[in-house]
């Protein structure tokens, strides 16, 4: 499941199935599918940083926040949604470069530290600068872009955006850049010895990952039609990391499946009432105990068992 050219049809097929299913279901499921698409975009970005460049970012929620606030604040001024989305992504990309450059100067956990600081400060800015962000009372009545005003139409916009992002990431990983990313993931030392500029590629992976966070935020704001600072604090960063790793970090399908676990599993477990989040946590731990490469690994092994001939779905070494 590592080879993007084999899984691209799978990913796009999954989106189509989700969309068709959503069109037949209740508004609740439509909303969840939209939310899944939005989180998947963000997790795909984080997967570039974490899964391919091997760097932990705790600021993905802040990048989502930049995208969400840019859209929520600019839409009422008549700026078209497409433009607000690009602006949000650009802000995140530039901040990613500015933060990543000094942090990646040194090896080790430092990107994690710097992104932790950004996550704290970004939340405080969203909360405190109420002249700009409306502070703790949040921004209400965010309009959805025409003609995607109904729940189902907006779901298709989210799924369509995810499809474009999926194609983009697929192209990226197949390009010479992407091959460098893959080499980086497998063995940074060897990659460096082959003449790959490790730091530049890591920085790019981080900044592109951040930009995808911005894209996801731009879609997030009109989905709930309300945003407030606490939504973009550390807990979201944690749950995005969880999506990537539980799905299978460094695999193409990982973020899609991890986001399903994170969005759908708690909802499915709701019937357990007071204990549903506790059970959710235990299931995630068990998943990590039994499958080192997350949901992707489980599916890959299941497929391999069913079709012993179909070897290529095994994770490549």
């Amino acid at each position: 499941m590592n080879q993007p050219h084999r899984v691209l049809p799978l990913a796009l097929g999954l989106l189509l199935v989700a969309g068709l299913a959503g069109s037949l279901l209740q508004p609740y499921e439509v909303y969840l599918i939209s939310l899944w698409a939005v989180y998947t975009i963000s997790a795909l970005g984080l997967n570039l940083t974490l899964g391919f460049a091997g760097q932990i970012s705790l600021a993905q929620a802040s990048f989502v926040g930049f995208g969400a606030y840019a859209t929520a604040l600019l839409l009422p001024h008549g700026v078209p949604f497409g433009v607000t989305l690009v602006i949000g992504a650009a802000i995140s990309f530039i901040l990613g470069i500015l933060l990543g450059f000094p942090a990646l100067r040194v090896q080790g956990h430092y990107l994690a530290f710097v992104t932790l600081a950004l996550a704290t400060i970004a939340f405080l800015v969203f909360r405190n600068e109420s002249w700009l962000t409306h502070g703790t009372s949040g921004i209400d009545k965010i309009a959805r872009p025409f003609p995607f005003t109904s729940g189902v139409a907006y779901m298709w916009l989210c799924l369509g955006s995810l499809a474009l992002v999926t194609l983009g990431v697929w192209w990226l990983l197949r390009s010479p850049w992407g091959r460098a990313f893959l080499a980086l993931r497998e063995n940074p030392v060897r990659a460096a010895s082959l003449g790959i500029d490790v730091r530049t590629y890591t920085l790019l992976a981080f900044a592109i990952g951040a930009a995808l966070g911005g894209v996801s935020g731009a879609l997030f704001a009109p989905l709930g039609q309300y945003i407030e600072p606490s939504e973009f604090a550390l807990p979201l960063s944690f749950s995005l990391l969880l999506m990537v790793v539980v799905g299978g970090s460094g695999t193409f399908m990982g973020p899609f499946l991890g986001a399903i676990v994170s969005v759908a599993l708690p909802e499915v477990l709701r019937s357990l009432q007071d204990y549903y989040l506790l059970i959710y946590g235990i299931i995630v731990i068990l998943l990590l105990v039994f499958s080192p490469d997350g949901v992707v690994g489980i599916i890959a092994r299941a497929v391999a068992r069913l079709r012993p001939a179909a070897a290529p779905v095994e994770p490549t070494p």
Binding site: L35, T136, S137, G138, G224, Y226, E228
Partner: protein, 382 residues
């Protein structure tokens, strides 16, 4: 074969009961009540009590035969104190076509839910107190307690006319609840000519309040307006007593709340607050509720539990005003309604529902004395 007449009579009446019972039940549908609440995450402190209050109200109403013969059924939905999740669960609740929505409490979740319940024409009675919530003109949104715009002005008058404060320090928790209260307080204090010399923001879950207190001390404040959650109030007041500070403590309902009094271990003595109906209110009905709630849930009900309980009474009164249990007409029936405890015991004290969805059921100026909240003054509904 002979059958005794008595046996025959019993048999016939049994048959009659069996035949009519399902019909009697089917005639009156069960009213589904959706309860979105903060059952996990930082809001669980208020959300769990709110849910339990609503559930107890539903049980009490059902025990008396329901509302106009309709039994109530409550379903709780956890918002995880997160607006995005709140949006999902309110959608799930609305897909099930509930009769009414009771909850949530946190502003962000209320704002998200209110947009959807308004569209669906479903009445939503929520536990939020932030001033801005009812300012949006949503005709289907109601409070079940006083809002900040009603509880803060009496405290400003108290600071001005009773304490004669020359220099006031404000300390507030910088979240939706505390910030909204602080904005209102600062604006009204300015209008009243109160001299607020320091305005200190604190974080929910802040470990120590010593820096905040030192700031107050340096500003030589003779009164402190404290607007925070119970645990932080307790931490603040313990530090305040330890440092031997002397300023008058005046604050939101939490400073004289039973939980804050317990947590502060004596440090809350002397604190003044203005609160709507709360567990410390000296009404027999409230005290009876508190006892029953403690016996049932093994925890002390704060004002959130009482709010949830009273919300069920609002449903009762609204349906009676309509004359039938219709979800669409409920909100219109509630506006302008006066609900009295002689007809609706769950309301516990007379409540007036105002045109904007706010309510007025009076409040108390309270002071903590010897670890107990003592009423200084009752202010009835206007």
């Amino acid at each position: 074969m002979r059958i005794s007449t008595s046996k025959l009579a019993i048999g016939c009446s049994l048959l009659a009961v069996l035949a009519t019972a399902p019909a009697a039940f089917a005639a009156k549908s069960v009213l589904e009540i959706a309860i979105p609440a903060e059952l996990s995450g930082s809001g669980a402190t208020v959300g769990v009590l709110w849910r339990d209050g609503v559930m107890m109200g539903i049980e009490d109403v059902n025990a008396k035969g329901g509302i106009r013969g309709h039994k109530l059924h409550g379903t709780a939905y956890d918002t995880q104190t997160n607006p995005a999740v709140s949006r999902a669960v309110i959608q799930k609740a609305l897909d099930g076509k509930p009769f009414a929505v009771l909850g949530p409490v946190y502003s962000g979740s209320v704002i998200v839910d209110e947009a959807l319940t308004q569209k669906a024409g479903i009445t939503e009675i929520m536990g939020g107190e932030a001033g801005n919530l009812t300012a949006q003109g949503d005709p289907t949104l109601f409070r079940t307690s006083l809002g900040q715009a009603q509880t803060i002005p009496p405290l400003i008058s108290y600071l001005k006319d009773t304490v004669h404060a020359k220099s006031v320090g404000a300390s507030y928790v910088n979240d939706d609840f505390g910030k909204a209260g602080n904005v209102l307080f600062m604006a009204d204090a300015k209008k009243a000519g109160l001299n607020v010399t320091t305005d200190i923001s604190s974080e929910a879950g802040q470990v120590t309040f010593q820096p905040d207190l030192l700031k107050m001390q340096a500003a030589k404040t003779d009164a402190i307006f404290l607007y925070d959650h119970e645990e932080e109030v307790a931490r603040f007041l313990k530090g305040f007593r330890q440092m031997g500070m002397k300023a008058a403590i005046v604050g939101g309902s939490t400073v004289a709340d039973a939980q804050a009094i317990k947590l502060s271990q004596g440090a809350a003595d002397g604190a003044i607050s203005f609160a709507g109906i709360a567990s410390s209110s000296p009404l027999p009905a409230i005290q009876n509720f508190v006892k029953r709630f403690e016996a049932k849930y093994k925890t002390h009900p704060d004002h959130n539990a009482i709010k949830g309980y009273m919300a069920v009474a609002m449903l009762q009164a609204g349906v009676d005003k309509e004359g039938k249990a219709s979800a669409k007409g409920l909100a219109a029936a509630l506006h302008g309604l006066t609900i009295t405890p002689d007809k609706y015991p769950l309301i516990m004290t007379p409540m007036k529902v105002l045109a904007n969805g706010d309510i007025d059921n009076g409040g108390y100026l309270i002071q903590v004395k010897g670890g107990k909240a003592v009423v200084l003054k009752y202010v009835g509904p206007k």
